[in-house]
Symmetry: C2
Subunit: 106 residues, 2 copies
DNA sequence: CTGCATCCTTGACGATACTG
DNA sequence: CAGTATCGTCAAGGATGCAG
């Protein structure tokens, strides 16, 4: 369920923003191609973690938000974030909250 | 750093057992081939999460244990375990603490 | 703007056999 | 007992182009 490369980051962004458009997610996660972003968003939706709201307008507008089930994993992501922050601080590094900081550099 | 398929499970086993031999880990994680188990153990060691103690005896005896750094991720694994358990309970399922329960069935 | 279709590369992982 | 060596597969992910 959390197998994808960007899923945890998507969820993390949605934790703090409550609602995000597709283009906003692209800016937040520039390393993810549109294809991958779409794919992982659909999988998160299929697993009931996020909700996809399509506005029937031109140009298209789609907003993503967490479901209650999605919100339930907040403690997990928080503990991961805390652990990662502590680790970086011990290394004398800054937490920049981007891909390179939250995810694994290895 | 936690990219491998069995790493979180290895760490989890070491959390409760404090020290485990290679053969014990094989029994605990039967789906992992010796090759994969070795590989992931070496990576965890390289990342400073576990310690590998080799006894110079015949037949060989190797024990694995958590380093202090490895112990520091306990809160992360615990929150994941709690979240997973809650989810399974809501589904009316039992927690069996094996691969299929802790990791993602998807 | 928000995707989908297609092709391609890569490396994680599995299977099997062998060893000090 | 605790691995190593080799080969093979397969699917995740990237690049690019097109579309409603």
């Amino acid at each position: 369920m959390i197998g994808g490369k960007y899923k945890s980051l998507i969820l993390w962004k949605l934790m703090t923003e409550t609602t995000l458009r597709f283009s906003q997610l692209q800016k937040e996660i520039p390393t993810a191609t549109p294809k991958m972003l779409t794919q992982q968003l659909r999988e998160l939706e299929a697993n009931g973690l996020i909700h996809r709201h399509v506005y029937p307008v031109v140009p298209p507008k789609v907003e993503y938000s967490l479901t209650n089930f999605g919100k339930s994993i907040r403690p997990v992501l928080e503990s991961m974030y805390i652990w990662g922050s502590d680790y970086l601080n011990n290394q004398g590094l800054q937490v920049n909250c981007s891909m390179t900081a939250i995810t694994d550099p290895q």
